[in-house]
């Protein structure tokens, strides 16, 4: 395990997760997960399937019962309701996009508008011009890639979002759409911090600088992405054989 497992205490830490525990039924899914996310850029949350990456994001947001500490810009958020955490500048792009299928694209975006926040419709439509053309279309009738655009657009819309929790944004998408999503994430990283869960390691490698690796509900590695990916033995140990092959 890396020596840098403990959450960064530095002043530039935007999100500090400490001793996060989550039980689902009898299963102890997260077992004292601790890590920090630096302000600016993209931090990757990596690991094999089922190690607790999505649960970590949901725990940070308070969408599931958890114990431990989650500091956002120094403020403890575990006692807050999900909507209160989100209003402190956290945006969520869930694994399955979770667009509202019965609402139009325009309604999906309108729902994400937050009172008092500057809205970035210009940026959203610059990144995803298709959404403007399909504003009146029901989100449930969009392709997977288009639904991902809606999900990302909702997260980018509010100008006061400081951190985006993005869960497997390229999952199940065609290569051309993956490139589009990667470009959008790069652009998003210029204006907000991103905590990215990504199974596609070549995508993760191209985007992230810092990585946190989970293994069986615990943090097994934190450090620089090059340190992890540049050492085949280390990558194999933390991410599995496919990681090295896929990279």
């Amino acid at each position: 395990m890396s020596a840098a497992v403990q959450p960064a205490a530095a002043a530039d830490t935007l999100l500090a997760v400490r001793d996060l525990d989550v039980y689902i039924g009898e299963s102890h899914i997260l077992q004292g997960v601790s890590f920090g996310v630096r302000r600016g850029g993209i931090t990757g949350l990596l690991g094999r399937n089922g190690v607790g990456k999505t649960t970590t994001l949901r725990g940070v947001l308070g969408l599931i019962a958890r114990t431990g500490s989650v500091l956002l810009a120094g403020e403890e958020t575990t006692r807050l309701a999900t909507h209160e955490i989100v209003r402190r500048g956290v945006a969520y792009v869930p694994e399955d996009r979770d667009v509202f299928a019965g609402l139009t694209v325009e309604e999906n975006l309108r729902l994400a508008e937050r009172a008092g926040a500057p809205l970035r419709y210009d940026l959203v439509y610059e990144l995803f011009p298709e959404l403007k053309q399909r504003a009146a279309q029901k989100a449930g009738t969009l392709s997977g890639g288009q639904q991902q655009m809606v999900a990302l657009a909702r997260a980018l819309l509010n100008g006061d979002n400081t951190i985006l929790l993005v869960d497997e944004p390229t999952k199940g998408l065609a290569p051309l759409v993956v490139r589009h999503v990667v470009d959008a994430l790069r652009r998003a990283a210029e204006i907000a911090t991103i905590l990215l869960v990504e199974q596609n390691l070549s995508v993760a490698h191209s985007l992230v600088k810092d990585v946190v690796v989970l293994d069986q509900g615990r943090v097994s590695f934190t450090g620089d992405v090059e340190q992890l990916m540049g050492d085949p033995a280390l990558a194999r140990r933390h991410l599995g054989l496919a990681a090295v092959g896929g990279h």
Partner: protein
């Protein structure tokens, strides 16, 4: 033809009453996943509150008395529902069995209290003269109360659609019916939407309580529970969470009951509604709208 016209319009009137109860039930289930067995209690308490207010305004004209009764019923239905949500349902959101027990208990306790206070016998409602008259439609003399109930239900349907389609709260409710967690993850306080939906459902149930009194000419403590059973059937046939589905299902159920109770043996209409429910569940488990399964 005369009989068919009469049955069609009285069936529509019955469907209108079912719709007023079912619309709130459907939204409450769709958004909050709460099976609200106390909905009939909102109906009953509001009807008796309206009836009492109408009697207190005895010096006013019959039209004004009736209007006062309706307004009081709507307000009392809304307040009772809001209090129920805030005090009893809110602490039990994650506990479905607890919700069922508490709403069933509230319904039983409320009916007993109403019986204790007002007696079990029906209380006659003083109606304006024009409501006791009939209007001839296709040769059939249709009681004006049936027309009134249909018109009011249509107005409520239009208002609910406007609320759901044109307001931000309506947008939140529609989104919440699909995915409540994601609505929260967009920074929206779903709790406020819960309370609002309960209040709207209670107001509609209160209105239904008073209109049912107008339709039947009297109110009684057991009618809310009796109509609630058919309203639940309407909600399931229409599709949980869909107001339009409830409207369509309410008309189908009302017409089926009226026609088969008239042409068939006693009780055939009621039985056929249960049969329809079984058929719809087998063929289309999500109901007419398919909004939810």
């Amino acid at each position: 033809m005369t009989t068919i016209a009469l049955l069609l319009i009285t069936g529509l009137g019955l469907g209108a009453l079912y719709f007023l109860i079912a619309a709130g039930l459907s939204l409450i289930w769709g958004l909050m996943r709460v099976l609200n067995f106390a909905h009939g209690a909102f109906f009953t308490v509001a009807a008796y509150a309206g009836w009492s207010a109408g009697r207190l305004a005895g010096g006013a004209s019959p039209d004004l008395q009736w209007l006062i009764a309706v307004v009081v019923a709507v307000v009392v239905g809304g307040v009772f529902a809001t209090l129920t949500e805030v005090v009893l349902i809110r602490p039990l959101y994650a506990r479905h069995v607890g919700q069922v027990l508490v709403t069933v208990g509230l319904a039983l306790a409320t009916i007993s209290l109403v019986q204790g206070g007002f007696g079990s016998d029906p209380q006659r409602l003083a109606l304006p003269a024009w409501m006791t008259n009939t209007t001839t439609v296709l040769g059939a003399n249709i009681p004006n109360t049936r027309m009134l109930v249909i018109v009011v239900a249509l107005i409520v349907f239009a208002l609910l659609l406007f609320f759901l389609q044109r307001t931000r709260f309506g947008l939140i409710v529609r989104a919440g019916v699909e995915n409540r967690a994601m609505v929260q993850a967009l920074g929206i306080d779903v709790q406020r939407a819960f309370t609002l939906v309960f209040a709207i459902g209670g107001m509609a149930a209160g209105l239904a309580g008073m209109l049912a009194g107008t339709y039947y000419g009297s109110i009684d403590p057991g009618r809310g529970s009796a109509m609630l059973i058919f309203a639940f059937i309407v909600v399931i046939i229409g599709g949980l969470g869909s107001v339009t589905g409830s409207a369509v299902a309410a008309v189908v159920v009302g017409e089926l009951q009226q026609f088969l109770n008239f042409y068939g043996a006693a009780g055939v209409g009621d039985f056929s509604v249960v049969l329809l429910l079984a058929i719809v569940l087998l063929i289309r488990p999500g109901g007419f709208s398919g909004a939810s399964t």
